[in-house]
């Protein structure tokens, strides 16, 4: 008899959460449900219509992030100028009250982008299953939690049952080995991975990130990496928890204390992929070969090293990819063969659930310190949460940014998707630390180049895309 092969981290978390199986579909228990104003109103309406309760309000946490303005938050929801956004925020306020769900409303120092708040509060813990009506829920995988985005019908399903109906995905391991060059970090890793596998390369898989370069990342870096997993098509990304994880979690408001901590820790230490586990797919990437990376087109897979050139549509293999590339070049106002550093920047956005944590702001501030934003460039920094903002102010980062000519704004999703007033105007070109360069994502006709916080800060100073290594 052949011995059973070992389990991957994903297998272990999955097995620990299967409540039941119905018609070949698992009913998976959900440990933490994060909710926000945009993808929940219809779910609560569905609960009311069917007279259903929220099964575990205590395993649910609400924030206001997607369409909050990034100034004047202390004035409260009723002062939000956009009528529809105000209605959504008010609706969330009423829903959490009716169903007894903990809520950090706009203006509360604990509020911020949902994927910044969960980890910061210690709500996100290893081994958990975590869902949210937002695709970048993959972020929480940095803690060794199985975390992914769901649609509104599923939000309603989780509210009502604290479970999700799921089919198991396949296992994919991405190993990033070796040491990254100075100026190269998690964002560059993530863009390089998507460039390698394509935006659909991870479809049907859960990706586990491993290798020495991943181990060396801080929690912030791991969150950036897992955040972008969805842009590679995989619903969830995972990093096995280790001392870096435990160190980050210790003492956070919602992490266990005393004996509970010891118990939790001994469980968390079992959360790793067994040596003899089998992956359905595996790739290895050499960290040392990754340069600071940016996007040139309108899909996150359209990546190029900052030292590279805008590709020609002819270099793509299929007709629809060529058509998409032609369209992307036209939309982006770029010519094939142009060095990417030719691209002049109008706006710089440092923020979003990808890169708005304290470490991101520290790196950007280091580049900005003692320098000036190029004339004609609007540069903004939007911290991921009230607590990130407070920490940055304590360290004097806000002063560094202001002195260099950056705007220092209040927390929220902001120009990541431009549902609030922070938006690009047609034709404006933006160096952005967010996660999507889709057409119109940051404002109709806006042109987005994704990059790391260090690269975005350098672009603000230079006035065009530039290699941050010249600014270290």
């Amino acid at each position: 008899m052949r011995p059973m092969p070992g389990k991957t981290l994903y297998d272990k978390i999955w097995d620990a959460h299967v409540v039941d199986t119905q018609d070949g579909e698992a009913i998976l228990y959900i440990d933490l449900h994060l909710i926000h104003e945009v993808t929940t109103p219809q779910a609560f309406a569905g609960l009311r219509a069917n007279r259903r309760a929220v099964r575990r309000p205590d395993r649910t946490l609400a924030v206001a992030d997607h369409n909050v303005p990034t100034e004047g938050q202390a004035l409260g929801v009723d002062a939000v100028a956009d009528e529809e956004a105000r209605l959504q925020l008010q609706t969330l306020g009423r829903n959490v009250e009716d169903y007894g769900i903990e809520y950090f409303p706009m203006g509360d120092i604990r509020n911020g982008i949902v994927h910044v708040v969960g980890p910061e509060q210690g709500r996100t813990q290893p081994g958990m299953t975590i869902v949210c009506g937002d695709s970048h829920t993959s972020t929480h995988g940095a803690f060794g939690a199985l975390a992914h985005g769901i649609g509104t019908s599923e939000v309603e399903h989780v509210l009502a049952t604290q479970t999700l109906r799921q089919k198991k995905a396949k296992n994919f391991r991405v190993r990033i080995e070796g040491e990254a060059a100075p100026g190269v970090g998690a964002k560059d890793f993530a863009l390089a991975v998507i460039g390698e596998i394509g935006t659909a390369g991870g479809t049907g898989y859960v990706i586990e990130y491993a290798g020495s370069a991943v181990r060396a990342l801080s929690m912030e870096g791991r969150m950036t990496l897992c955040n972008l997993t969805i842009e590679g098509g995989a619903r969830a990304g995972l990093v096995a928890p280790d001392d870096t994880t435990f160190e980050y979690l210790k003492g956070r408001p919602a992490t266990p204390k005393g004996g509970g901590w010891e118990m939790a820790l001994s469980y968390w230490k079992t959360l790793f992929t067994d040596d003899d586990a089998v992956f359905d797919r595996e790739i290895v990437i050499d960290a040392a070969a990754i340069a600071p990376t940016v996007t040139w087109g309108t899909s996150p897979e359209d990546v190029v090293a900052v030292t590279g050139k805008v590709p020609s549509p002819d270099s793509f293999t299929t007709p629809d990819k060529r058509a998409s590339a032609v369209r992307a070049l036209e939309y982006m106002g770029l010519e094939a063969g142009q060095p990417i550093t030719d691209a002049k920047i109008d706006v710089v956005f440092i923020g979003s659930c990808t890169n708005s944590r304290i470490e991101d702001l520290r790196i950007a501030a280091k580049i900005a310190e003692g320098r000036q934003v190029a004339p004609g460039v609007r540069a903004m920094v939007v911290p991921g949460s009230g607590l990130v903002s407070a920490q940055a102010e304590e360290e004097g980062l806000d002063e560094i940014f202001r002195a260099a000519g950056f705007e220092w704004r209040e927390p929220g999703c902001s120009m990541c998707l431009g549902m609030n007033p922070d938006r690009l105007t047609p034709g404006q070109r933006c160096a952005s630390t967010s996660n999507r360069n889709f057409e119109g994502r940051q404002g109709r006709g806006g042109r987005t180049h994704l990059m790391s916080p260090a690269m975005a800060a350098a672009a603000a100073i230079a006035g065009h895309i530039v290699d941050v290594r010249d600014y270290l």
């Binding site: 529809e84 609706t91 009506g133 509104t152 629809d320 057409e439």
Partner: protein, 203 residues
């Protein structure tokens, strides 16, 4: 949810890869607290120019495709945001099935929650449907029970679909009601877990 059994409808060709949910329904339409009425935002930036005037060359603006019930499109349709507004908008417009070579995962899943049928066919089959849909007769037939798509010229293509999902689509079943039948198992699971991982309780 409405059941899906069989559909005979005009098919609109949209030959682009990686159409994301921001393109299917841009963010300004996500501020609603309703499910209905999203057709006006469907493919908004494809359909309208900056002044809000219809672009005559976009497929769904052409008279022959205004009543399309099927969309034929490229790889990785529905990538990006998890917004369920994307299938809601498609359905509200009258699209009941999307045929593509591949779909993004969350979108694919959201389709089944709403009775919108995503059909995966091979690249050459999608190309043929795309070609035929551009011609004079654009009516395709989709039979979910038989798992076939019949092109305007009569070519029949079979597609794969998960059997459970198919059954639920055919019957228009509500997933929550079904899961609640297992409420006893959820209770048991929670009791066990409260013992093995007590730190997760009593926050």
């Amino acid at each position: 949810m409405e059941a899906f059994t069989r559909l005979d409808a005009a098919a609109a060709p949209l030959p682009l890869a990686n159409i994301d949910t921001d393109q299917i329904i841009p963010k300004q339409f996500l501020k609603t607290v309703e499910r209905a009425g999203l057709a006006k935002g469907l493919f908004y930036d494809f359909r309208f120019d900056e002044q809000g005037v219809e672009k005559p060359d976009f497929v769904l603006n052409q008279p022959a495709y205004k009543n399309a019930g099927v969309l034929i499109t490229g790889d990785n349709f529905g990538c990006g945001s998890s917004r369920e507004h994307a299938p809601w908008a498609l359905m509200d417009f009258g699209i009941k099935a999307v045929v593509a070579t591949s779909f993004a995962d969350i979108f694919y899943n959201n389709c089944f929650q709403n009775g919108l049928l995503p059909v995966v066919l091979k690249a050459e089959q999608v190309a043929q449907l795309m070609d035929e849909a551009r011609g004079g007769n654009h009516v395709v037939s989709i039979d979910l029970e038989a798992q076939t798509v019949t092109s305007p010229s009569g070519a029949v293509f079979s597609f794969e679909i998960d059997p459970q999902r198919k059954q639920k689509m055919l019957q228009g079943l509500d997933a929550i009601g079904e899961t609640l039948q297992a409420a006893g198992s959820i209770d048991t699971y929670e009791m066990k877990r409260a013992l093995s991982q007590p730190w997760l309780e009593g926050a």
